[in-house]
Amino acid sequence: MSELVFTNVTVRFGHHTAVDDVSLTVPAGQVMGLVGESGSGKSTLAATAVGLRKPTSGHIRADGKVQMVFQDPYSSLDPRMSIGNSIAEAMPRGTDKKAEVARLLELVNLDPGRATALPARLSGGQRQRVALARALAGHPRVVIADEITSALDVSVQGAVLNLVRDLQRQLGLSMLFISHNLAVVRYVSDRIAVMKAGRIVEEGPAGQVLEDPQHEYTRELLAAAPRRHTRLEAS
């Protein structure tokens, strides 16, 4: 099967330790949500999994290809390249690129006829779907989604989250889903890991982590997450 396993991964930038001895397993065919605040090392950990950054120590094992979807759909697509070409670029040699591009665009609910469009013609939500299609083009077994909805309008975010969930189930992908938004992570994840200052402070099944948090910091995050029916009074 296709697990993604981080074993004692440490990443240092000079004296700063961004990721501190992290061991984490994304189980095959499941979604691992990773929450934490900015600077907690979430994105750095993700970068090591796709080889954008080398860990200072420790190692990462993935069975099968790992692909990544980035946060900002406005900068993650080459503005001078048609979306079809961007997707085709990620395909293995010898694929029938045209047909495959059409299939992938259809998979992410976009009109295959738009393959020749430049990213500027697309809205943020559509661009993020193209980015998702590109990530799927290399037939990955593991996908890393790094804050993929935080640059989107709230009315569009839901459609992308639904799509991610559908595709993950349909294709049996293993997924590391990173977000600072606990509500979003809760919605898509089977398990949740909480990261703070480079370390994983808590990890477990989503329901358990949310309902019975063990670590002080998880409780703090849960308390801080905005809820509809509680009013925030002046302290």
């Binding site: 605040e37 980035f70 900068s75 993650s76 709230v154 009315s155 905005p226 925030l232």
Partner: protein
């Protein structure tokens, strides 16, 4: 289409015409007048200007006017050749470091950096000596003189593009370094490079003329403008025309290239940076009293784009009002208009725009500076990184309240304490980078508290902050309102944030308020289909995980796309013909509850 924007400016159009004429001359002049320019006439040696010979003749009696025209081809051709070689070499030197192994890249980069330190003309003279006198030598000399600055430019641009996510994305997809360079990097830096190449062609032309003039460029019997200028100069006191003719040609051609490049660059800058300056315009009419009264506010930009289209609301003393909307809904521009910060070419108009009972455009800056505080989204860019936090906060009181330096500094420390920054005295002496994001945002609020604000406008004050910090900042705003009875206008894309803190909510869509209601009723009695859809579409900690999220099809319209009818109609499940043709007004549904929707209560109940 985009390339033609150059031609829209007068300078761009004039230089384009000039360039076209030059190119036409370069192509056709030798064919048409080559013979006349070469014809030796021993009866008319070194004559001055006449009807037969407009610029006179040279020492062999050849017509200088035609020689200038014919020389266009060689002059422009050589300038372009030198530019092409120079730019191409520069491009290679500038981009190979991204393909080479690190140690080799470092050597190339250092070599370029050293070469950049030498003045271009000095390099050209140096290379001219090495390559020997003659046309090819001079062309290479000028080409290599251009090279270093181009290599450097390419490096800088490449570096800026390489940091973008799409490069990382391509790398993750397994795209090789060479393909990354040719397919992703170069196309994205082409525009500034082409512009600079045009400018470089202008300098190459004048530099070439200089070399020929000095005798180390084009050699007889070939001739370019520089050489003609040199020949004419010998007798400039007897007859100036033979020297002035080629001189004017050099100047005109140099100008044509440079101005065209400048115009293209200006067009490029305009596209990549659309900003605006100040021109508030308000007309006032009586309105019911409130701290802030806004009636029929419009903010428009040239080109018929009106992102805020008739917004009316009232903020009462000590009230906390939330404005919710997505990007492009006009919520931020509304806030900017209220604080008089809409920049040119944006124009603000309103039937009423009153703060504290006075028309806003007649409120003196000093009063506005102390009574109204603004908190922006990104606390990192709101502070000057080179000045201490305490100093920057104190300045507000020095400018607006005429406090002395010492008194202002003490007040700043007091206000930092008020926003619960620990050890305010020590913190006041620190620089912005020593503060965390949440602390900077609190310091920003402290700055607003230096006056006696009656209204705090906070535009997405917590969007850039972590959730735990977000809660602290929101609590702080609530406390300011409690302790100082200041009103707060909180602008946010996050409906849950607003629901938690505000008394009333204004929901904006496509430049208008579509619903206004008390926060208590938000989850029970919201009527507008957009509001109800938004509430369902955003997941929170109580959302059902097993059901798919509710989705609003389509996307919010851009300010330029708003046409007839209700702007939400294309995404609305209830839309009918009336919705698509007539835009509903915001009407009072019940006390404290206004809605802009054609649908009746029973029809709306179906989608809730």
């Amino acid at each position: 289409m985009r390339r033609l924007t150059v031609l829209r400016s007068p300078v761009g159009a004039a230089s384009a015409v000039l360039l076209t004429i030059l190119l036409a001359l370069a192509i056709f002049a030798p064919l048409l007048w080559g013979d006349r320019a070469a014809a030796i006439n021993t009866d008319a040696l070194q004559q001055g200007p006449s009807a037969d010979h407009l610029l006179g003749t040279d020492q062999l009696g050849r017509d200088i006017f035609f020689r200038v025209l014919v020389a266009t081809r060689l002059t422009i051709g050589l300038a372009l050749l030198a530019t092409v070689i120079g730019v191409a070499t520069g491009l290679v030197l500038g981009s190979v470091p991204s393909v080479l192994p690190r140690w080799a890249a470092r050597i190339v980069t250092s070599a370029v950096n050293i070469a950049v330190a030498f003045p271009g003309l000095l390099l050209a003279l140096f290379f001219a000596v090495i390559f020997g006198t003659g046309t090819i030598g001079a062309a290479l000399a000028i080409a290599f003189a251009i090279t270093p600055s181009f290599a450097r430019l390419t490096q800088t641009l490449t570096a800026s593009v390489s940091g973008r996510d799409f490069i990382a994305a391509a790398r993750v997809c397994g795209v090789g370094r060479f393909r990354l360079l040719t397919r992703h990097v170069l196309p994205n830096i082409a525009e500034p490079l082409v512009i600079n190449a045009t400018l470089a062609a202008g300098s190459a032309l004048t530099a070439f003329a200089g070399l020929s003039f000095l005798g180390i460029g084009v050699q007889a019997p070939s001739y370019d403008w520089g050489r003609l200028l040199g020949e004419g100069l010998n007798r400039i006191y007897i007859s100036p025309a033979p020297a002035l003719g080629p001189a004017v040609a050099v100047v005109l051609a140099g100008l044509a290239f440079n101005l065209f490049g400048e115009a293209a660059a200006a067009g490029h800058r305009q596209r990549s940076h659309r900003a605006a300056t100040l021109a508030p315009k308000t007309t006032s009419a009586p309105a019911d009293a409130g701290l802030l009264t806004v009636r029929n506010l419009h903010v428009s930009f040239p080109g018929g784009i009106t992102p805020v289209r008739g917004v009316s609301f009232t903020v009462h003393k000590g009230e906390m009002i939330g404005v919710v909307g997505e990007s492009g809904s006009g919520k931020s521009l509304t806030a900017l208009a209220v604080s008089r910060l809409v920049e040119h070419p944006g124009t603000v108009t309103a039937d009423t725009l009153e703060f504290n009972g006075k028309p806003l455009d007649r409120t003196p800056d000093r009063e506005l500076g102390t009574r109204l505080a603004m908190v922006f989204q990104d606390p990192t860019t709101s502070f000057n990184p080179t000045k201490r936090i305490g100093r920057q906060i104190a300045e507000v009181s020095e400018v607006h309240q005429g406090l002395g330096r010492g008194a202002a500094a003490r007040k700043a420390v007091d206000r930092l304490d008020a926003v619960r920054i620990p050890e305010p005295e020590r913190r006041a002496k620190q620089y912005p980078h020593e503060f965390s994001g949440g602390m900077r945002q609190r310091a920003m609020i402290a700055m607003g508290l230096m006056g006696e604000p009656q209204l705090v406008i906070a535009d997405e004050p917590t969007t850039a902050l972590d959730v735990t910090v977000q809660r602290e900042v929101l609590k702080l705003l609530a406390r300011i309102r409690q302790d100082r009875s200041a009103a707060v206008l909180l602008i946010s894309h996050d409906i849950t944030v607003v629901a938690q803190t505000c008394d009333r909510v204004l929901v904006m869509y496509a430049g208008r308020i579509v619903e206004e209601l008390p926060t208590d009723e938000l989850f029970t009695a919201a009527r507008h289909p957009y509001t109800t859809a938004l509430l369902k579409a955003v997941p929170d900690l109580d959302t059902d995980r097993d059901a798919p999220l509710a989705v609003i099809p389509g996307r919010p319209p851009e300010p330029g796309e708003i046409g007839r009818g209700c702007p939400f109609a294309p995404r609305c499940p209830l839309a009918d013909d009336q919705c698509r043709t007539e835009e509903p007004e915001l009407t009072t549904h019940r006390q404290d509850h206004r809605v802009a929707c054609w649908k009746s209560e029973t029809e709306l109940a179906g989608v809730r």
